[in-house]
């Protein structure tokens, strides 16, 4: 097939790449240079697209995830071959798990060296195959513009996810005056966006007859930006709503119908609603095992409707009577368009609301001898009026944030859900702030996870970022310690730190202000003062070293078997 030559002007692969990124309106690139991407970085030197130099490739990917999560646009990453690419794997796997759109360029050795164990060669195609939505290796420079457009299209449509483009060094150097058409042609990839009307009608009929309906709101709603439609639908029929961890923010924390997060560390009201409902309308959740730990006993009395853009999720974990493969927003719009008689579910609503008020998330508020981590989060929720973009790392502090921060809007909560990646927090907060410079960004991080990616603090000054880093220091890998105390007879195997760095000095070493809070009496005043500071502040709070996240549905148990319900 001969293509019509359109440009005439000879350009090298690096220039073609940058042009393609500009066409995609890429605002910034997160990356780290090295031998295989030197020609590309030489082109970047001209400054066509801002580049954020991270300090570790894992940081680049998590920062791009933070960017993607708060904007809904693909995050873009460039790393070098071999170790650069392998350092990026954790982030790519994390994005795959949480369906975040990324386009990751990995340098590769020159084409003749591939497969011959060349210096800094890693089999990136093999390594990333199971953790990407799709991956490409460029073999023909003329295909580069099309592949880049395809990658962005695939990353950001259907069920979103990371796409890797492996870029042999020679492909960035060779010139061409005749690149092939950059039109996306993907007949084998046609995600279903519009729902099937028959299924919508079926769902609405079942809802009409339902006495105990409940909505489970997952991250699919956020990806579809469908929070307004969700709220409108729930209000129209007065259906209680619970969310997954990643669904937090789809309905405001103080909404009458919101029952809280469900699952392992979910609320009593949410887990009981799951247990007793007769109709479960799952919108954009994949019934992860942190939500449905005992699939055989999950929502045992319910007809299940599952709305998901990914057909492979339907029936994967929970048997579904009403499958709807479509975009959440389009589906909710259609559901709002079908008029039915208001279901006779008034008693059910009352039961749920009273459970919510009788058994809210709780902790020992009277204890003033130590700082309760939950209280730190509550106070910060008040200081930031529930408006901040909230980022967490992984562990106890993450669950307390989910329980106690007053989330108000979609795309507000940035956390590693599916993979549970410690080290996610600091770089993700940086990516979120770079994406939304006018928003207040708060990170809650543990003393363990902080030490996994704290090198990225170096970025803060370079870009004058204002992020409040709240380090909840319980001197332990708290979540591990909790499980050891609950299920392993309190044997603290490798979960309690015997020594710790001076975190405040560490902050100062990175030229950011550090504040250490140790006294319960002055906690609130000190937090208020720290949040008034301009610029980034590391706020280390010495919190209880014995606290547990409760309630808890032990792994493998049905949702109603919660321990620690007050």
């Amino acid at each position: 097939m001969s293509e019509v030559c359109t440009t005439g002007e000879a350009k090298n692969g690096s220039s073609l790449l940058i042009e393609a990124l500009q066409k995609q309106k890429v605002e910034m690139i997160f990356g780290y240079p090295g031998g295989a991407v030197l020609p590309l970085y030489d082109t970047l030197y001209e400054g066509a697209i801002p580049h954020i130099l991270v300090r570790h490739e894992q940081g680049a990917v998590h920062a791009a995830e933070g960017y993607a999560k708060v904007t809904g646009k693909p995050g873009v990453v460039i790393v070098t071959s071999g170790p650069g690419a392998t350092n990026a794997l954790t982030g790519i796997a994390d994005a795959m798990s949480d369906s975040l759109p990324l386009v990751v360029f990995t340098g590769q050795v020159t084409t003749p060296g591939i497969g011959k164990d060349a210096f800094q060669e890693a089999d990136v195609m093999g390594l990333t195959m199971p953790i990407t939505k799709n991956n490409y290796q460029i073999r023909d420079i003329n295909e580069l513009p099309r592949v880049i457009n395809e990658a962005f299209h695939i990353a950001n449509t259907g069920r979103k996810g990371p796409v890797v483009i492996d870029l042999p060094k020679d492909m960035t150097i060779i010139e061409t005056s005749c690149p092939k058409s950059d039109k996306v042609r993907l007949p084998s990839y046609q995600p279903t966006v519009m729902p099937n009307n028959l299924q919508i009608n079926k769902l609405m009929k079942v809802l009409e007859k339902s006495k105990k309906p409940v909505i489970l709101a997952g991250a699919g709603i956020i990806h579809a930006k469908a929070s307004p439609e969700l709220i409108e639908f729930a209000e129209k029929y007065e259906i209680p709503v619970l969310t997954t961890l990643l669904g937090l923010g789809t309905i405001p924390y103080d909404h009458e119908l919101f029952l809280g997060m469900g699952g392992m560390h979910g609320s009593f009201a949410a887990n009981m609603a799951l247990t007793e409902c007769d109709l479960l309308i799952n919108i954009g959740s994949r019934f992860d095992d942190r939500l449905a730990s005992a699939p055989g006993e999950f929502a045992p009395n319910a007809k299940v409707a599952h709305i998901d853009i990914d057909p492979a999720e339907i029936g994967k974990i929970i048997e579904t009577q009403i499958p709807i493969v479509a975009d959440a927003k389009e589906t909710l719009k259609k559901m709002l368009g079908v008029e039915i008689v208001h279901p006779n579910s008034h008693d059910w609503k009352k039961v749920n609301l009273s459970r919510k008020h009788l058994h809210p998330f709780s902790y020992d508020r009277k204890n003033q001898t130590e700082i309760k981590p939950q209280r730190v989060i509550e106070i910060i929720g008040q200081i930031t009026k529930g408006e901040a973009i909230v980022v967490t790392d992984v562990g106890q502090h993450q669950m307390w944030t989910a329980q106690f921060y007053p989330f108000k809007y979609q795309n507000q909560f940035v956390t590693s859900g599916g993979l549970g990646t410690m080290g996610f927090g600091i770089p993700a907060a940086i990516g979120a702030k770079l994406a939304m410079p006018d928003k207040e960004v708060v990170l809650f991080v543990g003393d363990g996870g902080f030490q996994m990616t704290n090198q990225e603090l170096a970025i803060l000054n370079e870009y004058h970022l204002d992020i409040k880093f709240v380090l909840l220091n319980n001197q332990s890998l708290g979540m591990v310690r909790q499980w050891q105390e609950s299920f392993f007879g309190g044997r603290h195997s490798q979960s309690v730190f015997k020594t710790q760095p001076d975190f405040i000095k560490l902050a100062e070493a990175y030229h950011i202000k550090g504040v250490k809070i140790t006294r319960s009496e002055t906690l609130e005043a000190e937090l208020i003062a720290a949040f008034k500071e301009k610029g980034s502040v590391l706020i280390e709070v010495a919190v209880s070293t014995t606290e547990h996240v409760l309630p808890m549905v032990p792994a493998g148990k049905p949702n109603y078997q919660m321990i620690g319900v007050e």
Partner: protein
Amino acid sequence: MRRMITAIVNNSSGVLNRISGVLTRRQFNIDSISVGPTEKKGISRITIVVQIDSLYEIEQVTKQLNKQIDVIKVSDISDEPHLERELALVKLNAPAGIRAEILSVIEPFRGNIVDVGSKTVVVQVTGSSSKIDAFVDIVRPYGIKQMARTGTTGFTRSSK
């Protein structure tokens, strides 16, 4: 239970890797995989024969395979009228004295002798894999020196 799945795929470099990856991750027992071009340029057919316990598993894996970008269509054709063929080359011990006997044994299977050595012959048979299994059982007593099987390929029959 034995199921036959066919996948029509873009003939891109990583596609076989992705498909076997999906099957491995789901812990499928694969009897055979065969790949070859179709009537359309750039499009290949992959035929996978698996052993599974329940149809739920097949549905799941079909969906996971369909999800791959380079996969155009995956179908479980086991319950539809379909053609399936496999080819086997079997090198048999065949001293001169029993060659006639071997010929008569392979004849009902429509086996052909495609190579002759001083002590061995190579028989080619085609058919469903169960037919080939039966053939192999019958000729085993003569001594199988070597065997190569292609794995099953096939598609659904034309509608009447």
